[in-house]
Each structure stands twice: as structure tokens, then as C-alpha cells.
Symmetry: C2
Subunit: 189 residues, 2 copies
DNA sequence: GTATAAAACTAACAATCGTTAGTTTTGTTA
DNA sequence: TAACAAAACTAACGATTGTTAGTTTTATAC
């Protein structure tokens, strides 16, 4: 449908602006200017500013949830599962780095049902991640330093990829995955 | 001075609100309500909303800059310098986790001189960090995976500490430092 | 070329924003 | 208790916010 594509253009433009200044600081007039139209014209394609935000965030969150569910239900080793998670984050980041800024920084501006839905997905994601690490420790695949710190540090890095990746030039996804796995799992010393 | 202390109360309350919703989404009336007074009364103690933000951010940025300068000019090994940087981040985070949310997420709402000043401090900080890693690779103290990825992943984790630390209960700073050094430098496998 | 739908426009709304001016209350010191 | 300063208040301002209503332009199909 044509309206779908025009809506997507608006959502994409919004994601870029949200990344630069955050959801609350971007006005509908800012967004309209970026699209080359007037603010009121946006409402031929979207229902509200809030709808733009939830479109950006929920879609990405479901992508992560779906990817994580596949990894969890696979019969790979814990280390391989962690590698798959790293790969998942890189894939999503390459595809939609702008949107990830909103997911990371503006999720709290979601309203009601979408906020609850997002928070549940994020909680489940972290729980799955933690369980994989825990299993890895039990199986002696992972050094049992501090599980919480491993989960936190790995997830912090993966969640910040959206900021770092666009600054790298011509970086190959597969090389990036290898290097990231090496640094995050084998360490630097 | 008494006014100084009342101003600091306002700044501290603002930091908590900024952490929850971001600078742009927090109104002066929100802040006044949190302080138990009316919005106009805030202006007996502060000059503007912007002044609150710059007070929070610039002070923290200068703390990091000062700490980094000391580490750079010390004659320790690269690994020891990295350990000192980890320690610096943990110290600052324990002292002012709320303010770090603004530093990480709302620095772009600084105006003019303060924005330029902040951006320079951040750039210098990253450059110093990168130089330390580079030296470590040259001296064979650090595996030469990908220097940029090492800088990025380590800094990502340290910058996200402000979100993670408050959720941990009764965590000892020194144990945290040891564990963090272990995970970030020795890896998890 | 006329009809229809998509997508832009102008104009304006009620609400809320940061902030100011002027006034009153509170607390301290002589 | 008189004097003074600190810190609160009420009331309001001009600007900006997201959004709506109604209208006009643009593109597509017959």
C-alpha cells in the first residue's frame, strides 16, 4: 500500500531525529520540516507522535525477542549461543541503527499497553541471556567470575553498538562479528 | 553558603528526574513538585533549567577529565592504567549515578560554550583511552584484536554502570572493581 | 476530461512550556 | 521587636506544543 510506504518514510525520518535529540525534544514541526511538508500533513499518514515511537520500538523489540527465542531453543553450547546473540545484535544494528537509539533511550515514553509489553519483552530477554550464561558456568564453559557482571557488560556493549557502528567506515559484518566475539568472550589481555 | 546547599538540593532532585524521563521531558513544574514548592520559587536559587543541566554534566565531565589526566601522566603499565580507568568510573558512579544519566543521555541539550567544552573533554578522554590501549598493544600487554572494538566495548560497559549499579544490592566497591577488571580484561571464557 | 483518492495546505484550538514581576511568608540577628 | 535577607507565594506573559477541521492541490484511473 502506498500510504504504508509514506508512513515508513516518516517513521524513518523520525528515528533519525529521535536519535539526535530524543523523542521529547523533537517536535512534529521538526519532523515535518525534515520531510519537506507542514506538520498538519503528517497526520494524513500517522495517528499521533506516540504511534511513531511505538512503531519504531515495538518492531525492534519483537525482532530481538524472536531472535532470542530461536537461540534459546537451539541445541548449541552456551558459548555458541552467546556468539549467536552477538551476531543477532550486529544484524539488527546494521539494519536499523537509528531506531535502536529510540529503543535504548526513549522506551520510557511509550504509553500504557506498549510500555508494559516492551518492559516484559526486555525482562524476558535479559532473563534468557542470564540463563544462558548460568548454564555456561555450570558446564564449565564460562569462567564463573560474576554472572551479573558478565551479563551486564556484554549487554551494555551490544546495546551501544548503534552509536559506535555508524562511525566505523566500510566495516564488514562478518569481520565485526568475529572481532566482537573475540573481545567480549576471550578478553583483551 | 546556604543558597548553595539549596541549589544543590534542586540539582540533585533534577538529576533523579532527568534520569527517569530525560531533560526535555522534565518540566520545571515537575521539578518544583518534587521539591515541594512552586515552579517560580525555583528561580530564587537557579538561573534557568539549562543551568541545572550544565551544573550536573560539566562537573562530572571535569571529574573524569581530571582523573584521566592523572592516570595518563602516571608511569604505570598499560594494563594498570586500564585498571585505574575502571576504578575511576566505578568511583564516580558510586558517588553520583543519577548525574551520569544526564551526562550520557542529555549532553546534546547543553548550549553553546558548554556544549563545545563538553564535546572537547569527551573527545580528549576517548583519545587518551585509545592511546593507552594502543601503547598496550605495542608493548604486547594487550592482544591486538581490534583496538577500536576494545575501546568501544570497555567504554560502553563503564558508561552504562550508572544503570546497572543501583540495581545491585550492597555491592562492595572493591569487589566490584576486581570483578569488573577480571571480566573486561581477562574475558569470560 | 472527468471522477476519485491521496496528500498537501491554511488556520486555529487548548494545553503546556520556561520564565518574570511583584508580593508575602519565614527565619535569623541585633 | 525591629530589621533584613532568604525563600516561598500568586499571577501572568509570550512562545511553543500536539493536534483538529476544513480546504486545496496533485496524481491516478476510466
Amino acid at each position: 500500500m502506498k500510504q504504508e510506504s509514506r508512513k515508513q518514510e516518516i517513521v524513518n525520518a523520525a528515528a533519525i531525529l529521535f536519535k539526535e535529540k530524543g523523542y521529547s525534544a523533537v517536535t512534529m514541526r521538526d519532523l515535518a520540516t525534515a520531510m519537506g511538508i507542514k506538520a498538519a500533513s503528517l497526520y494524513n499518514h500517522i495517528q499521533s507522535k506516540q504511534e511513531i515511537l511505538s512503531t519504531i520500538i515495538i518492531e525492534l523489540a519483537e525482532e530481538f525477542t524472536s531472535g532470542m527465542n530461536q537461540i534459546v531453543s537451539s541445541d548449541r553450547s552456551s558459548i555458541q549461543k552467546l556468539e549467536n546473540i552477538i551476531s543477532l545484535h550486529i544484524d539488527v544494528t546494521l539494519r536499523n541503527a537509528d531506531g535502536l537509539a529510540s529503543l535504548n533511550n526513549d522506551w520510557m515514553h511509550l504509553e500504557e499497553d506498549n510500555l508494559l509489553y516492551f518492559e516484559k519483552m526486555r525482562q524476558d530477554y535479559e532473563d534468557n541471556f542470564r540463563q544462558i550464561v548460568k548454564k555456561g558456568v555450570d558446564m564449565n564453559e564460562i569462567k564463573s567470575n560474576n554472572i551479573e557482571i558478565i551479563v551486564f557488560s556484554t549487554l551494555s556493549t551490544l546495546r551501544t553498538l548503534y552509536l559506535w557502528y555508524p562511525k566505523q567506515k566500510n566495516i564488514d559484518a562478518n569481520i565485526l562479528k568475529k572481532d566482537m566475539i573475540s573481545v567480549l568472550l576471550q578478553g583483551v589481555v
